[in-house]
Amino acid sequence: MEIGEPKRVYTIEPIEDPVPRTEPEPERDEPAERPEEPAKVPG
C-alpha cells in the first residue's frame, strides 16, 4: 500500500492494552450463589 514518504519514526507503548484479551462472561440464568434461607422467627 502506498502511503508516501516516511517522515518520522516513533516507538509507541500503549497506556492500556488495545487488545480485548478476555471474552465477557455469559449471563447466567441463575444467581451465582444460592440465596440464604430466610431466618425463622421464633413464635
Binding site: E2, K7, V9, Y10, T11, I12, P18, V19, P20
Partner: protein
C-alpha cells in the same frame, strides 16, 4: 481494510496483501517479507518491521478513498474472500509516519464496519446464494471484541463496477 476469510471454521479478518489471518483477541505482529522476496544482491538486511527504508509493517491510511484507490490498483479481492470490510486500527510498537498513513509493528482493530446495501444484497443473493449475509458476517466478527457496525453502502449511479468507493466518514483505515 480487511478481507473476510474462513479459517478454522469461522469467519476471520485477513490481510488484503498477504495470506495472513488476524486472530481474535490477539495482536498481529508484523513480519518483513521483503528480504526473502528480493533478489540476493538487492536484499535489505533482516530488520525489525517497520523499517523507514523498507515498505514493511502493517499499513493504515487516513481515508477510505486512499484505501479504495490502493485496492483498485494493487489488491483485487481474492477468490477466497467472502467480503471486504473497513475499520479503524490501533498501531503500536515502532510506527513509521508517512504523508498519507502509517506503518506499524503491532496492530489490532478497534472498530469494524461491514458494508451493506440494497445493491449488494441483490447481487449477493443472485450470485452467491450460500454466502453469508452482512448481518452474519458482523455477528461472527464480534469475536474480535470490538464494536462492529453495519454501514449502508450503495454504489453511486454511473460508477463502473471496479470503482467502488464507500463513502465512510471514518479516518484511520487498514
Amino acid at each position: 481494510m480487511w478481507d473476510v476469510v474462513e479459517a478454522d471454521g469461522a469467519l476471520r479478518l485477513g490481510s488484503v496483501a498477504y495470506r495472513e489471518v488476524w486472530v481474535p483477541r490477539q495482536e498481529l505482529v508484523a513480519r518483513c517479507r521483503r528480504p526473502l522476496a528480493a533478489l540476493p544482491w538487492g536484499r535489505m538486511p533482516l530488520h525489525e518491521p517497520p523499517n523507514a527504508a523498507c515498505r514493511c509493517g502493517i499499513h493504515a491510511v487516513q481515508s477510505s478513498e486512499t484505501a479504495a484507490a490502493h485496492l483498485r490498483r494493487e489488491a483485487p479481492r481474492r477468490e477466497a474472500a467472502i467480503a471486504r470490510v473497513m475499520g479503524t486500527v490501533a498501531l503500536w510498537g515502532r510506527v513509521v509516519v508517512a504523508d498519507a498513513g502509517w506503518r506499524g509493528g503491532v496492530a489490532y482493530p478497534t472498530a469494524l464496519l461491514v458494508p451493506t446495501g440494497r445493491w449488494r444484497r441483490l447481487v449477493s443473493a443472485a450470485l452467491w446464494p450460500y454466502r453469508r449475509s452482512p448481518g452474519d458476517i458482523a455477528r461472527e466478527l464480534e469475536a474480535y471484541g470490538v464494536p462492529v457496525e453495519l454501514v449502508p453502502f450503495e454504489r453511486p449511479a454511473g460508477t463502473p463496477p471496479g470503482a467502488a468507493v464507500p463513502s465512510l466518514a471514518r479516518t484511520t483505515l487498514v
